[in-house]
Symmetry: C2
Subunit: 426 residues, 2 copies
């Protein structure tokens, strides 16, 4: 007897057949005596297709229109899922973000959830319905539709779980939990039974794709237990919850990698105060999402300023940098797109000195050159050449004793995906 929120991503509702599977799953949760609320993403590639249509019509579509366009994707999947449940003799009712009472900030395309008025969902549960909620969307104070940005459906699920006081927020996807490293890169990666919010947050931020960092952040804030599990099996996945003493205390929980960033270096800027401020204020003003920032001061009183940002922000970043270089009297700038970031994450790191040394040694022995380093109390990130990411992750995984005895069977990875992954890594 539990109250469960079950979120299904785009892959899980990509076709009528898949939607039937989701309906079955929800009914089986209900049959076990639980109450359940479903949260769904848009079917398969719907969102991308809508973005493509908009791009064909406008270089810079008005944000309000864009949000209303994108929000239709979840409205289709939610109604179809409700129909599939009803066709199996159970009662279901779909809810748009508006109807689910999801109030957000007014920043179109990346609105933040501010409040969940879950009364209507609550009433529907009490009346025996399986509520089906559109992920990724809400309304702002003006009543306009907003969307939460990519991966926003995870965030919706966590918010709804909090709003109705659910026991757990189950997030179903095509992977069966959180791994000590990407199993596609590291065949000996281990599935974790449990991981703390902090570690999961660092892993997500560092590129582990299984959960959206902002959803984990929201879960941590409101203490919502997340269960990351497979839509295609009944096996338990990974619980993400408050750090507690019973949790296994490995030094490193997992290793994440991210090949979606680029590195920009502004060379030979005068080493004066205010330079960094000018550069990074300009970047922030143009909404470039910065990740790592490193400054080297040379002996001649000039400085090199390096930062990384998502590849998708590269054009915006170039624009800013080209404008700022004459202002700060720097020499020039260089862009490196062939980088990968590898991150060790673990709350246990705080109490274990020598993690960095062990990591650098492991990479040196594997002949991997480290380009940039950045750290947090529970994370150590190193930027390496993109074509060395696989070697680097494997070496670290072994060096920190994470290798499992059994080799991961790649049931979930198609040949095309593997190829795409490899290409990206190069």
């Amino acid at each position: 007897m539990a109250l469960i929120v079950a979120k299904f991503g785009g892959t899980s509702v990509a076709s009528p057949e898949r939607i039937q599977m989701v309906a079955k799953r929800l009914i089986s949760i209900k049959q076990q005596g639980n109450d359940v609320v479903a949260v769904v993403s848009a079917m398969g590639k719907t969102t991308d297709e809508l973005v493509g249509l908009a791009a064909a019509l406008s270089k810079n579509p008005p944000a309000r229109e864009m949000d209303r366009l994108l929000s239709t994707g979840e409205q289709v999947s939610m109604t179809l899922l409700a129909m599939a449940i009803e066709a199996r003799g159970y009662r279901a009712m779909s809810f748009t973000g508006r109807q689910a009472g999801i109030k957000t900030s007014t920043e179109h395309k990346k609105a933040k959830i501010q409040l969940v008025h879950a009364d209507r969902i609550q009433t529907a549960i009490e009346e025996g319905y399986i509520p089906v909620v559109a992920g990724f969307q809400g309304i702002d104070e003006k009543g306009d539709i907003t969307t939460l940005g990519r991966g926003g459906s995870d965030t919706t699920a966590v918010a709804v779980a909090y709003g109705i006081g659910a026991d757990v927020c189950e997030i179903y996807s095509d992977v069966d939990g959180v791994y000590s490293a990407d199993p596609r890169l590291v065949p000996r990666a281990r599935k974790l039974d449990v991981i703390s919010y902090d570690d999961m947050l660092e892993l997500s931020s560092a590129g582990a794709g299984v959960l959206q960092a902002r959803a984990v952040e929201l879960a941590r804030k409101y203490n919502v237990v997340i269960h990351s599990r497979s839509a295609f099996s009944d096996a338990p996945g990974t619980l993400i919850k408050e750090d507690d003493p019973s949790m296994e205390k490995a030094v490193i929980s997992g290793i994440a990698h991210d090949t979606s960033e680029v590195k920009i270096t502004i060379r030979d800027a005068p080493d004066e105060s205010g330079i960094a401020s000018k550069i990074f204020s300009a970047l922030a003003g143009n909404k470039v999402n910065l990740d790592m920032i490193i400054q080297n001061v040379s002996e001649e009183g000039s400085t090199d300023m390096t930062f990384t940002c998502p590849e998708s922000d590269l054009d915006k970043a170039r624009e800013v940098v080209e404008n700022v270089i004459p202002v700060i009297r720097a020499r020039d700038y260089v862009v490196d797109e062939n980088i990968a970031k590898v991150s060790l994450v673990g709350t246990g790191m705080k109490s274990s000195p020598g993690v960095a040394a062990r990591a650098f040694t492991a990479l040196a022995e594997a002949d991997v050159n480290i380009i940039l380093i950045s750290t947090s109390p529970i994370r150590l990130s190193m930027v390496v050449a993109a074509d060395q990411v696989e070697v680097a992750v494997r070496a670290l995984h072994t060096a920190f004793g994470l290798d499992s005895d059994s080799v991961f069977e790649e049931t979930m990875l198609s040949a095309e995906e593997l190829e795409a992954k490899k290409k990206k890594g190069r």
Copy 2:
């Protein structure tokens, strides 16, 4: 300087390229000093695709969910059109049925417009926007999304035109107006410059596809002038408006035909009172849309009851008839799917005796056998064999002096459509 509502159907917004054309058209209306409100249908076959998805998941999808599903189609086209207009430097704002203030009855999938609160549209016009309104949808008193049924976008356009006091409701489609007969059947069909609501209503009801009968009915009720014209040319089309003395008074305005009906005859029912009531109450109870009803009493005190209904209602009709036959002690029933209805329409008919006689003579001379006849004060409908529909329409067109001097050029009909039309006629 006029206030214009411009409605574009699914074909006109079927692709980004077509949407660009619509945007250009709207801007050109605006540039001529007018104010304009757009009403759009869903892109191309979107609605059919959504219906197909629902059918894959449920034999009998809940009406509330179905309406929310279908309403997404227009939400996509309206936002895309608004983006296309904005990209050309004009201001546009999209409106769902809810936001456009279109209040309907609660009958899902065939809701009726009850009220238009056009304040938000009006304000947008005053602020210089081109409002883009989703056709086909509204909300009921409970706040649930409703849809107006097939062709509902025409009705939305007329309702919005009335709500904002527009000078004209332009309905753009792939045909350039109302013809004296379907130009695909009758190469000498003439485009009408103007036609009365009454005649248009009869033509639409009798199968002329260019405008939805209910939209014409609403226009007549609220005296909204409709201009039916081509989305692909600037040539004026046909005005549909109040009958006025200046209108050309042809006896017959046009000839419509309809191959989408079937004929069912219940044979040898006892000729007693209450039989017709039993049959047609049962049909109404099962929501079969009846068109013609004809009763023949035979000499032996038994009666044949014949009616026509849309082919799409045939299964429901069969069910009713099979149940009712034992109750009324009729012998059996026969279904004829290969029929076509040909209708002469004209307000002038009222004051011109001999129309029926002239029609029957024309068909007899063309060797067309008349199966059923039904009349209204301004319409004469005859059911003939489906494979004789073309001959029948042409013979009548000539007999009533409707032939134009020039032969219609079939610019708008593809070979496939012609073939499909012919097949259906067989």
